[in-house]
Amino acid sequence: MAKEKRHQHQDKAQKKPTHTFEGFTSGSFFRNAVIIFVLSLVFIIMYNLNGNRAELPDLHNELSDLKERPGDHSQRMSEIAHRLHDIETDTGFVKSLFVGYFDDIHFVAFGIQEQLDNATSEIKKLKAQFGNDNDGYITREDKLRFKVHTYLLMDLINSNCPPNSVILLPPADSLASSSKWNFVYDPMWVEYFIYPRLCIASGREAENPELAKRITHVLIVKGIGYDKLRYDVPADKREPLCLLPINKPKDNTQTSN
């Protein structure tokens, strides 16, 4: 009886589903190595299908350098433009399936440490420029200052307005065409940086009349917004970028740029 049970047990063990593979023998180490070799080969081929994309960042950097450098670089710029065009249009169906994976591996997995090191040194330079790199510690604000180009305007608001201020932002239609001023006209976006101060979009005061009544400051960008002030600023004293109180200040301490 006991023997029968043991046999049944052994039979069951032999009939285990094929995906549970125990009893691995040392002889199969070679077979594992073969599979790993084949997989590696497939991955390398897939990676190299789009290998020319590795040139893209250098080409883009060189192109933007040449644009800013004085002198005639039209021949080199034309060569770069052609090369960029060749790489970006070199997209057969199979290649295009693996472009994203190439970017994952080349630019993120292999490149991330270098990118973060570069960003860290740039952020430190930016801190030094503003004279606050004493501690050597990089804060969230330092990173945002580096990443968000208009963060300086947010700094301007935060350091010159009390927490209960309401800021009138510049109108979108005068700035939206230039990416340089991205979102400084959008109250949803600006509010993130200036909380607990509040803000309101220029030209949309009717949507929020209660807040419109409480405006304390006007953010002037590209010289736009002086017409919103309740006093006149002489033309020769108009700064293109500044934050001004909506009512005439008793002294000049509240005017910032």
């Binding site: 594992n32 399936l97 991330i112 973060l116 990443k147 959008d186």
Partner: protein, 467 residues
């Protein structure tokens, strides 16, 4: 302090997990614990707001400890079992699957790289700045869900979204985080671990590692593992929910039903538009219960998913009191132009081709192409072996994918462009594109575990183990 918060979140999830069942694998313990834990933390924040108690670390620690102690006391977490699982995780040299280990090393390296990127940069994406991170940060500062910005309509579009995602940000801010992005890494980890475990339970570790690598490296999804946006976390809940329900239907293990119900409940607690997936899961479970006659399960799943959905709608209506124009235009009828635009984008995503500014291949790689290839091969095999033996319970999964896709498509078709302040083309190029994440784990699960793949991977395993 942040470490305490995260540890409590995991312990809370773990105690719920062991209240539901007794035996789990290590990836299931880690993956489900976080998803359940952070979901319940957001429920705590919601309930505290409703009873008008301001958030604080003390209150949250107290609530967490209370629940953990109550659950572990009542259901007694099997510590010995946990120890066994941990020791089982360290394999004996003669049982190491070197191929899976090789793939695991690539996954670990890719995960490390994206984690570095994610944790270095604070949120800077438009949606995060205008909504998610703003809501989370200010919730932590003001100690309530309905923050003061609602008064001036400055809360952003996600103000009416259910609170799980921005609530999770608030939770880590309350525990002293400088940025909330650790949450994104933990969601990504849970997604990968649970997907791996579900696939492994059907086709073994080698195939599971390979498909987990394909899932993780999906270009657009991988990019989102470093962005503070809610689509990837929603994909984690949908993956866990749908595959749990599928496992329950396929293997009859009831703990997966409960896990599926909880995960689907949190799916609508993280994004209301994920109701399409809840509706599809109810439909599939309804079809299943027609066979099993176990209608109680259908009612339970309905309760788990409808209560959070209705609860949040009531909160928006009664507490937030936001005047809501309907997001949907039911009088739209048939618009050939809209349909053509939408189908153009969908063709690009599914067939890996380009349409206007998007290229499906660059966004989702081989995911959908491999799914359709697997599907065609299996359809071909039905002529030889019969549909039942080829598809079996996979037909429920395929039906789920089809129904949820149709419902999700309908949601977008009916969107009122004026209320949404966006054209259907821009919605398809951004929102719908990110919504495709919800399908990726499901189609990859099918591709990995379908009949033809099983045959291939069984042969591979036989060769690998020389058996």
């Amino acid at each position: 302090m942040l470490l305490v918060g995260i540890l409590l979140c995991y312990l809370l999830g773990c105690s719920v997990l062991f209240a539901i069942g007794k035996k789990y694998t290590l990836p299931e313990i880690i993956g489900f614990s976080f998803l359940i834990g952070i979901g319940i933390e957001s429920v705590f924040l919601f309930v505290l707001d409703v009873v008008q108690m301001h958030y604080s670390t003390t209150i949250l620690i107290g609530l967490n400890l209370l629940c953990i102690v109550a659950l572990t006391y009542k259901y007694s977490v099997n510590v010995q079992y946990l120890k066994d699982r941990l020791s089982a995780f360290v394999p004996k040299p003669n049982t190491i699957n070197y191929v899976a280990l090789f793939l695991f090393c690539i996954i670990a390296y890719l995960f490390y790289a994206i984690m570095l990127k994610n944790l270095f940069w604070p949120p800077a994406e438009g949606d995060s700045i205008t909504s998610f991170d703003k809501l989370g940060r200010i919730m932590a500062i003001e100690g309530k869900l309905k923050i003061s910005l609602f008064q001036y309509n400055l809360q952003g579009a996600a103000g009416i979204y259910p609170p799980l995602f921005h609530g999770s940000f608030a939770y880590v801010y309350i525990f002293g985080a400088e940025t909330p992005k650790i949450i994104i890494t933990l969601f990504f980890l849970s997604l990968l671990l649970l997907f791996y475990q579900f696939v492994k339970s059907y086709v073994g570790a080698t195939a599971a590692m390979l498909f987990t690598l394909i899932l993780m490296a999906t270009p657009e999804l991988y990019a989102h593992a470093a962005l503070a946006l809610g689509n990837m976390p929603t994909a984690a809940y949908i993956c866990a929910g749908v595959l749990s329900i599928y496992t329950w239907m396929d293997k009859g293990d009831k703990k997966y039903f409960w896990l599926g119900a909880i995960m689907m409940g949190f799916t609508v607690w993280i994004r209301s538009d994920a109701i399409a997936f809840v509706a599809a899961s109810l439909f599939i479970v309804f079809l299943y219960t027609l066979k099993s006659k176990d209608f109680k399960r259908l009612l339970l799943l309905g309760a788990f998913t409808i209560i959070p959905f209705i609860g949040w709608l009531l909160y928006v209506k009664l507490k937030i009191e936001m005047p809501q124009a309907s997001r949907f235009n039911f009088a739209i009828g048939y618009s050939a132009e809209r349909m053509s635009t939408m189908l153009g984008y969908i063709k690009a995503y599914l067939c890996a081709v380009s349409y206007r500014e998007v290229h499906g291949g660059q966004l989702f790689g081989i995911v959908f192409i491999s799914f359709f290839t697997a599907l065609l091969i299996n359809i071909g095999l039905t002529f030889k072996n019969g549909a039942k033996s080829i598809f079996g319970n996979h037909s429920f999964l395929l039906l789920f994918i089809a129904v949820s896709f149709a419902l999700y498509f309908t949601e977008f078709y009916l969107i009122n462009e004026d209320v949404q302040a966006a054209t259907i083309a821009s919605l398809m190029a951004s929102s719908f594109k990110r919504g495709m994440f919800y399908f990726i784990p499901l189609v990859l699960f099918y591709t990995a575990t379908c009949y033809s793949s099983k045959v291939v991977f069984d042969k591979l395993e036989k060769y690998r183990t020389a058996s």
